[in-house]
């Protein structure tokens, strides 16, 4: 096997199973990008400052979601890169945009880019000037700096941090704020039900409709998060405005889910929820999926190896896992799969040869969990799970079982679904 492209589970290494190579991005676009995430701050306006080639993707992200009126750009061109005017380009460009907006936004998200990092732009000076010019607008620094993705905090982690950077310390109550995810948690998942049982107010950013509700996020005394990419932002917020912080990771492992439940019920001082009938539902789904080979990819969940372990241990014919690297928290599941799933093919999701490996004909007996593998495997039997899609705990297992049953029984229009950028993102 070519280690630029694929490796057997029994032979791969942790956390980087592949050799470096050129990379490819398939037209499966359900994952949210930094534009979608920033749109979660109500009554905010975004300004991206970068070269036209970089602007193109983000401009059309906003246009496709009908949010052009919350989005502006300032282009960086060659003269600014050599004549020392790049800071003026940023400051004057933002001023030009703000002065032409029909109404001043509550918040401005300013996205600088790789070129500002490499030209050592004094962003502090830029923000000082802008805050002085518009004292009633809250500014936050955001970043479109993909070149820094292996230089410490990733752009995705940074964006999830800046999402809460404008939340001010308010008068505290006993509420609970769930942090770091973009889709609202399912109303039937353990976190939401336990908080309701405790009589506390439940808050999360996808539910906020205006600036005041956004600020209410800071009133809570308990902060929860489940996505590892939200860790830095959650820690920063809890430290800045005060509150108990608890990490309840997404997982498909029943033991971890039980442990999460115990931690949560202890913190909220409520009786632990009864375990759901998930096992029978997963078993039914597995029985129904006999005859289907299964593929999953890393865009479906923060814990793809945990998902793989659940599937393999419940009789699914798991053949392929698409990802680029293993997450740091997945070591235990990796070790288990290395022993029990030696024959699973681990495919580099960004390998440029994948479009050619994709069958021209639609595959009838492949079940895909995740958009990228649905595209690569060319199947209409797929579970449209994106970054856990707001499903947590045993409810996530219930949901998975139901979605698998649905995907086996009914085909989806894969092309039209995976083409949509930022699935579920609404203005």
């Amino acid at each position: 096997m070519d280690k630029h492209k694929e490796v057997m589970m029994g032979e791969c290494s942790f956390p980087s199973p592949f050799l470096e190579s050129l990379e490819y991005t398939p037209p499966a676009r359900g994952m949210w990008n930094i534009v979608h995430i920033g749109m979660l701050i109500p009554e905010s306006h975004q300004v991206f400052i970068c070269a036209g080639g970089c602007l193109r993707g983000v401009v059309l992200t906003a246009a496709e979601m009908g949010a052009e009126d919350r989005f502006s750009t300032v282009s960086v061109e060659e003269p600014e890169t050599i004549d020392g005017s790049i800071e003026e380009n940023l400051v004057n460009g933002v001023i030009d945009v703000v002065d032409r907006l029909p109404k001043k936004p509550k918040a401005l998200l300013i996205y600088s880019s790789c070129i500002h990092e490499f030209l050592n732009v004094d962003l502090d000076r830029c923000y000082t000037l802008l805050r002085k010019k518009y004292p009633v607008v809250a500014f936050t620094d955001c970043y479109m700096t993909p070149i820094m993705r292996k230089s410490g905090i990733t752009p995705d982690e940074k964006m999830r941090m800046q999402l809460y950077s404008l939340v001010e310390k308010g008068e505290k109550d006993d509420g609970v704020t769930f942090l770091g995810d973009v889709l609202p948690l399912s109303r039937t998942c353990g976190i939401v039900r336990e908080v309701a049982k405790s009589g506390r107010t439940y808050r999360e950013i996808p539910l906020t409709k205006n600036w005041d509700e956004y600020q209410e996020l800071g009133r809570s005394s308990v902060f929860l998060y489940a996505n590892p990419a939200a860790r830095k932002g959650a820690e920063e917020l809890a430290k800045r405005i005060g509150g108990n912080l608890l990490y309840l990771p997404y997982s498909f492992d029943p033991a971890t889910i039980r442990e999460n439940g115990r931690k949560l019920s202890t913190l909220l001082s409520v009786k632990e929820e009864d375990e759901r009938e998930w096992e029978a539902k997963i078993a039914d789904a597995s029985h129904l999926a006999k005859g289907f080979s299964v593929a999953i990819d890393y865009t479906a969940t923060a814990r793809p190896l945990s998902l793989a372990r659940l599937l393999l241990s419940h009789g699914f014919a798991l053949k392929r896992i698409y990802l680029d690297a293993f997450g740091g928290e997945e070591k235990e599941d990796y070790e288990w799969l290395k022993e029990h799933g030696k024959g699973i093919e681990v495919i580099k999701a960004s390998n440029p040869s994948l479009p050619f490996d994709r069958s021209r004909e639609e595959q009838e007996n492949v079940l895909a969990i995740g958009q990228k593998c649905a595209y690569y495997e060319h199947t209409s039997h797929f579970v449209n799970l994106i970054a856990d899609s707001g499903h947590w705990g045993f409810e996530a297992l219930d949901n998975l079982a139901a979605e698998i049953v649905s995907a086996v029984r009914e085909k989806k229009d894969t092309e039209s679904i995976v083409s949509v950028k930022g699935w579920g993102c609404k203005v």
Partner: protein, 369 residues
């Protein structure tokens, strides 16, 4: 300030132009970029993914490699990728950080060619110029390496030069142009470069005449004139009147004449220059305003991209034909007629069943006629 856009979109950049132009020709297109340009291309600049795979990749540049100049890794990664699918050529485009770091991608291309024996080139680019520039340079690089001068075919035929989805949205529209010309007794030799395959492009040096159908095609036609001795004219059969004028020009080999325009009302078109000229040729009873944000073609074209500048030009006009994403800056006093341009609005640009070829444009213009 010219560089700030409050609400309108931006055009596809030079990072995508060459990739689009060479998509169907069996090569490996590499964008020297960290991330983003690859997904922008596959998502917004390329509608052919589901029908036809192509080798398009980014180098996944990191901060440390950009700073330390690890150019050997680019060469090595390209050579590894070539082993998998044996491309006919390698074409490289670049992005802002390699530009400011002064990465010598011309040398990288030469090294790839030296080690692999596969024709390789760099199309100068940095993500700060429009797609049109590398559509041209990509096609010229390809022609210069793969299409030798051939004896002119005694049977009259034309090439369509400068054809990509960025300007023509779909193969259906290109097919409509080809069908219209052939139905009018004008055989099409080759389409550079959509829908006619490697063999079709190889025949292009046999043609009698190049028909330049986009501003990207102009430098290519000049190259073909110098290398193959093929004369060229500019035009598109959009609308009945423009089609008639073009038909005469093709049969005589004379340039498409400028249609005299005068009238109390003004019609403005914002878009690609050849399409603008062709559309306006159908409107002789109006004063004309042709705004070309990505490359001037005709004498009277106004080359501007700034949102405020364009909005200012539109203040007094009566009709505006442009991509729907221009609508927010069109004054309410003007009637807006949408004419989608893929290079501006990407996947939002739909054919909508309205085909501008031949009399099709007349249906679009019906309300102002």
């Amino acid at each position: 300030m010219r560089k700030a856009k409050r609400i309108i979109s931006t055009y596809a950049a030079d990072t995508s132009g060459a990739v689009s132009a060479l998509y169907e020709l069996g090569g490996l297109s590499v964008i020297h970029d960290a991330s983003g340009c690859g997904s922008t291309y596959t998502t917004h600049d390329e509608p052919r993914w589901y029908d036809m795979p192509s080798m398009v990749a980014i180098t996944a540049l990191t901060e440390i490699d950009a700073v330390m100049g690890n150019d050997r890794k680019i060469v090595g990664d390209i050579l590894s990728a070539m082993e998998l699918h044996r491309p006919r050529f390698v074409s490289i485009t670049s992005t802002p950080v390699p530009y400011i770091m002064g990465t010598d991608l011309d040398a990288v291309a030469k090294e790839v060619e030296r080690q692999s024996g596969v024709p390789s080139w760099y199309c100068p680019s940095n993500g700060m110029h429009p797609y049109t520039e590398t559509v041209s340079s990509g096609l010229i690089s390809y022609l210069s390496r793969f299409v030798p001068k051939r004896k002119r075919n005694p049977r009259f035929s034309v090439n369509l030069v400068g054809v990509t989805p960025l300007d023509f949205i779909s193969q259906k529209r290109v097919d409509a142009i080809v069908a219209y010309l052939e139905d009018s007794g004008i055989p099409v030799c080759s389409v550079l470069a959509m829908g006619c395959g490697i063999e079709g492009v190889a025949r292009s040096s046999e043609a009698s005449l190049d028909l330049v159908v986009s501003s990207s095609g102009l430098p290519v036609a000049r190259f073909m004139e110098a290398e193959y001795g093929i004369p060229w004219i500019v035009g598109l059969p959009y609308g009945k009147r423009a089609s008639e004028i073009l038909g005469t020009a093709l049969k005589t080999g004379m340039p498409v004449p400028v249609v005299p325009a005068s009238g109390k009302k003004t019609i403005a078109v914002i878009g690609e220059g050849v399409q603008n000229s062709s559309i306006l040729s159908n409107c002789p009873d109006f004063a004309h305003l042709s705004i070309t944000p990505v490359g001037k073609v005709a004498e009277g074209d106004i080359e501007m991209e700034g949102e405020e500048e364009i909005a200012s030009c539109l203040k007094e006009v009566d009709y505006v034909i442009a991509d729907p994403l221009y609508r927010p800056i069109v004054p309410e006093t003007a009637r807006f007629i949408p004419f989608p341009h893929f290079a501006f609005s990407g996947r939002l640009a739909k054919d909508d069943g309205v085909e501008p070829v031949g009399e099709g444009l007349d249906h679009i213009l019906e309300e102002i006629k």
